[in-house]
């Protein structure tokens, strides 16, 4: 079973539809996804080749229950151990993995759970990524907040008590240029202690500029580490360039960012291989930049506007939990973020095992925080959402729920220096 991603909109012109169909059906009509576009910075790095070598040679079917048991007994988890823990042979050991993961999480993070919220400031996009609600062929209400609107949204969020924000845009350099994102960061610094960015990948000098504007954490999801599969999902636009995206975190660190976050979008490709590559991306980059803070996310595919059938296929909650436990055992020191794509029940459970950060008060739409937070009537002037969220708890509700679980919610553990 595969997801059926292609949806034609009645609003597209015949020319646009023809082009869309050509991209979908004729691989030769698509550009070379491994070739950098003009202006894209190329850096010297062996991280990618290290990760790919491990991923390409990973045959998870060869691991046995004995390998899994050995991995669970070892005090430090080697790459081989990690591969065993990600394999199907580890599925019967999920409870034992969870127990071990919980102990490690507790040793490194105590009982704290960090809270943050995302703020989408624009949803224009120049790419055709077939699974994404923002893709340029999807008919949705587009919007880009001006600085005044951004500040208004930030005030609403800050009033709720939130101290960490993640600023997001659709991937359009034209509509949301680096200067615009930088201005949003400057505003965010006024209202929040910690400002993260999840925007299109940029060059190291641009990351440096954004850092100077107040951002200190950069999240880039590779979507899938299988470059051939990636090519069939990202049919057009700068996002199509797989290696430029891969090196984004390293360029961000070169630009002076304190930390970087990683993930594959689980359900797009072979999730075991993608999980292996995501963690090794962290592992090898940490060896090169030992001072950097690193975190992993674990998004699964969600339904989008105009395509409510999209789902994460074989990555059920059990598999997701297995991946997260394996991440924790292999990388005891990294943050693990679980977003509102997952249910309240799953998030309540996983913060006790492996996750260290959750979002709250989430909207993936544009300019709708006031209506969502205060119940004020929706204005006409709003942009549609990137995907459907699952857990819509407010900050207060999340704060109380975490406390009730015997954990300590933390709004800020951060200083911009």
């Amino acid at each position: 079973m595969e997801n059926q991603f292609f949806v034609d909109s009645n609003y597209l012109s015949k020319e646009a539809l023809d082009k869309k169909h050509r991209l979908e059906n004729d691989p030769t009509s698509r550009s070379n996804h491994m070739e950098y576009m003009p202006g894209m910075e190329i850096i010297e790095s062996d991280v990618c080749s290290n990760v790919m070598e491990q991923m390409n040679s990973y045959d998870y079917s060869k691991y046995t229950a004995a390998d899994v048991r050995r991995a669970l007994e070892h005090e430090t988890c080697s790459i081989e151990d990690f591969k065993a823990l990600l394999s199907p042979a580890a599925e019967p050991y999920l409870e034992a993995m969870a127990q071990k993961a919980r102990n490690i999480t507790s040793m490194h993070f105590g009982n704290t759970v960090y809270l943050f919220t995302p703020l989408y400031i624009a949803n224009y996009c120049e790419n055709y990524c077939v699974y994404c609600g923002f893709n340029c062929y999807n008919h949705i209400q587009r919007m880009k907040l001006d600085l005044e609107q951004i500040e208004k949204e930030m005030k609403v969020i800050a009033d709720s008590g939130m101290e960490e924000i993640l600023i997001l845009t659709g991937e359009s350099r034209q509509k949301s240029d680096v200067k615009y994102i930088g201005e949003a960061c400057k505003l965010a610094r006024k209202y929040f202690r910690m400002v993260g960015l999840e925007v299109y990948p940029v060059n190291s000098d641009e990351y440096k500029y954004l850092h100077e504007c107040g951002a200190d954490y950069v999240t880039v999801f590779q979507e899938t580490y299988d470059a051939d599969k990636y090519e069939t999902l990202h049919l057009m636009g700068h996002k199509r360039i797989w290696p430029y995206r891969f090196d984004a975190q390293e360029r961000a660190l070169m630009g002076g960012m304190r930390g970087v976050a990683f993930s594959a979008l689980l359900g797009l490709s072979d999730f075991r291989k993608d999980a292996l590559a995501s963690a090794l991306h962290v592992y090898y980059l940490q060896r090169k930049y030992p001072h950097a803070e690193m975190s992993l996310s674990c998004p699964r595919l969600r339904p989008i506007i105009n395509n409510d059938k999209i789902n994460p296929l074989d990555v059920h909650e059990k598999q997701l939990c297995q991946v997260l436990c394996a991440y924790r055992i292999f990388l005891p020191y990294v943050g693990i973020t679980v977003s509102s794509r997952e249910s309240a029940q799953f998030r309540n459970g996983i913060v006790k095992i492996a996750a260290t950060k959750v979002s709250a008060g989430v909207s993936t739409g544009i300019g709708d925080h006031e209506s969502k937070y205060t119940g004020k009537e929706k204005s006409e002037d709003m942009g549609d959402e990137q995907f459907e969220i699952n857990d819509s708890r407010s900050l207060n509700k999340m704060y109380d729920d975490i406390t009730e679980e015997g954990l300590q919610p933390v709004l800020n553990d951060y200083l911009y220096v």
Partner: protein
């Protein structure tokens, strides 16, 4: 025993237990003060720097000395800036220098720590540097104006105890400042052992924070540290002390 004070800079303390900041909860602070008798509590400035929902500063009981730390600093310059911010926030003049260039093991950077100690001591801070136990570095820290030396027992949060025991003993023997064992102490027995060796105080956090019964473990630490201190002051018996001595004098053959 009553006059047995821990002296850091010009300040005197009765308690030899210091609460670390790695994991925190209001319950932990409460237990540390009430049950472990802590008079000094470490505070991560990056956490204190918070707005309204919950400021850890609000939970520090009166009479307790705040020891702000510079966690999050990656070099001397950042540590100095965080220390100055702590002072502005009203956290007093104490500062524990923590400089980590490594997010995996959180091992302190000794070189940068010396630099920061020198700058902050000159600015009038009571500087307590966290360090990897190295005698040469400890001497440099003394010369730079440190008020105590805080060597790690084993990797932070690991609960592995005195992995660096031999080297901490060397610091205790050679350095005139209080040696406060910081990081890695997981059991009261390990705290007791370090105190027997002559450590001036113990800093712990994870051992309490992750215990099944927080208040009981806090009491256990208090007793263990007290027992270790008493044993040190009482001087260990000859079999246990280093270089056990013979019961008959070896030099009895000497004439006048």
């Amino acid at each position: 025993m009553n006059n047995d004070k821990l002296v850091i800079g010009e300040h005197e303390f009765d308690s030899r237990f210091i609460l670390g900041s790695g994991k925190y909860s209001m319950k932990l602070i409460d237990a540390a003060v009430k049950d472990a008798g802590a008079e000094i509590i470490t505070l991560a400035v990056r956490r204190a720097n918070t707005t309204d929902q919950e400021s850890i500063l609000d939970y520090i009981p009166e009479g307790v000395t705040l020891l702000p730390n510079t966690s999050g600093a990656r070099n001397a310059d950042e540590a100095v800036r965080i220390a100055r911010l702590a002072r502005e926030l009203g956290c007093g003049d104490f500062v524990k220098i923590e400089i980590m260039r490594d997010t995996k093991y959180l091992l302190p950077d000794n070189q940068e720590t010396i630099k920061a100690t020198e700058i902050l001591a000159k600015e009038g801070f009571v500087v307590m540097p966290y360090m990897y136990p190295d005698l040469n570095v400890a001497r440099d820290l003394v010369n730079a104006g440190a008020a105590s030396i805080m060597p790690l027992a084993s990797p932070i949060g690991s609960n592995k105890g005195l992995a660096t025991k031999e080297f901490i003993q060397i610091l205790i023997d050679e350095i005139d400042l209080p040696i406060i064992v910081d990081a890695g102490i997981g059991r009261p027995s390990q705290a007791c052992e370090a105190m027997e060796m002559g450590a001036a105080a113990i800093m712990a956090n994870t051992a309490l924070a992750t215990a099944g019964d927080l208040t009981l473990m806090a009491s256990a630490f208090k007793n263990a540290i007290g027992a270790g201190r008493m044993a040190y002051l009482a001087r260990l018996g000859r079999v246990l002390s280093r270089g056990a001595s013979s019961s008959d004098p070896l030099t009895g053959f000497l004439n006048d």
